[in-house]
């Protein structure tokens, strides 16, 4: 069943045409779209709604008839089915083939106290009579007066738009913004200073050379660079047995 949404609100704009013949309900496109295309477009929506209804009733039946074998995963499965169907429905409603239903007027043609078999059939037995008692529930485009009243009450509780108060709040916001921007500025300045400092540090030339290290270690361990190539005149300086040096003197001192 469609929930009629009247674009202009206000119950007064719902016009009644009790003298018109035909079915209990009639729709007329506010956007002047041809009625046939509207009905065609509504078919997939109705189909989807049927499916959702079936799924929900299936779930209810399952819960009611097999309370002992209820299992959480099964229920979650069914819920996910229903939710995907709902998503599908909203996709269809939003698609271009469906005319914008918000802009349509729904007008009851006939209000009567007698049973309407056509209506009963369309609504699957839920609404046998479109009476004065029922139709406000189905054609309402505003909230019930009671609900509306409660909303009003809630609105009254909101503090009135006090100019002084809002000025104060604005001032505080401005102050906070000032403080925050000053902080951000000083932080970024510090960051810049730090970065330039470290960049300057990295510019200092290397204090050591890997090649030199390796050359020195090789010289120490293998004598590379220290041994003259064979054949040269001063290869292998030969130490005489009487090599003068600390050793001799040290032993003499003992």
């Amino acid at each position: 069943m469609l929930r009629p949404q009247h674009p202009h609100g206000g119950a007064g704009s719902v016009s009644l045409h009790p003298n018109l013949t035909g079915g209990g309900l009639g729709t007329t496109a506010g956007s002047r779209a041809p009625q046939t295309s509207l009905v065609d477009g509504l078919d997939p929506v109705a189909e989807n709604l049927q499916k959702i209804k079936a799924a929900i009733s299936g779930l209810l039946q399952y819960i009611e008839t097999q309370p002992d074998s209820l299992s959480w995963p099964t229920i979650m499965d069914r819920f996910s089915t229903i939710s995907s169907q709902l998503a599908n429905l909203s996709k269809i409603v939003k698609s271009e083939r469906i005319p914008d239903m918000r802009r349509m007027d729904v007008i009851p043609f006939l209000v009567s106290a007698e049973t309407d078999p056509g209506l009963e059939k369309t609504t699957e037995g839920r609404i046998p009579v479109m009476s004065h008692d029922k139709f406000p529930d189905y054609f309402r485009s505003k909230m019930e007066p009671e609900v509306e009243h409660r909303f009003q009450e809630a609105y009254y509780k909101v503090p009135p738009n006090n100019a002084e108060l809002s000025q104060k709040a604005d001032k505080q916001v401005q102050n906070l913004n000032k403080v925050v921007s000053a902080l951000v500025e000083s932080l970024s300045a510090a960051k810049e200073a730090w970065e330039s400092k470290t960049a300057g540090l990295s510019k200092i030339p290397l204090t050591h050379d890997v090649n030199d290290t390796n050359a020195l270690l090789l010289a120490m361990t293998t004598g590379k660079g220290l041994i003259s190539p064979p054949g040269s005149s001063n290869a292998y300086p030969k130490y005489q047995p009487g090599f003068p040096g600390a050793g001799g003197q040290a032993s003499q001192n003992r």
């Binding site: 290397l206 204090t207 050591h208 050379d209 890997v210 030199d212 290290t213 390796n214 050359a215 020195l216 270690l217 090789l218 010289a219 120490m220 361990t221 293998t222 004598g223 660079g225 220290l226 041994i227 292998y236 300086p237 130490y239 005489q240 047995p241 009487g242 090599f243 003068p244 040096g245 600390a246 050793g247 001799g248 003197q249 040290a250 032993s251 001192n253 003992r254």
Partner: protein
Amino acid sequence: MDPDLKIAAFNNIPNQEYALFGSVLEAHLETLLHRLKGLCGQLPGNAEPFQDHYLIYSTKSPNIIPPVHVRAVRSIMSTFMPWRFQYYGSEISEASRMVTQRQIIDACCSVRLPKFLEDGLGFNMDYEYILKGFTFAKGRVRISVGRMMKTAHEVNMQVEAAEALSGSYLVEVATVVFGGSATNEENPEKEILQVAELLKPIVDLKRLDVKR
């Protein structure tokens, strides 16, 4: 002479040396020395200059494979110091370790070592160099910063440092653990790494890798 040098008697379990090596460019030597002075304090023996003459010998005989290398070291600055005999074992630390660990035998000798090695034991001298620089001690860690020089022989048989081998100074950070095993309180590897961390980024110290 190394103030922190500990001379161990020959025992069954050789001493272990933990060491890291690096180099520093001559232009930044002062920076490094300044930092080392700050790190090691003003105790006597710190920033002590040294000039040591190293002679590296290997076995003459082709039967001994691989040849054994030993070093004879003496100080050129002080003629009262005895010759030192040094033997370094091959590296025994695993590749994943951060620090070079190897056997070390470092002993002072009462004999004239080159003569004894050549004539008495049949070693051949391979090469020689002079290391000229400064030593520091931080705790049990010895840090030496020295320049490797080629040798020049004067007429009167005195050895003197000639040209430098490279524009960099060799930096060595080492500590020796006696008897091969460190006790629970000592963690030589950690000590070495701590010192190495303190010398960054002036020197990038790394373990000895002969293959390189």
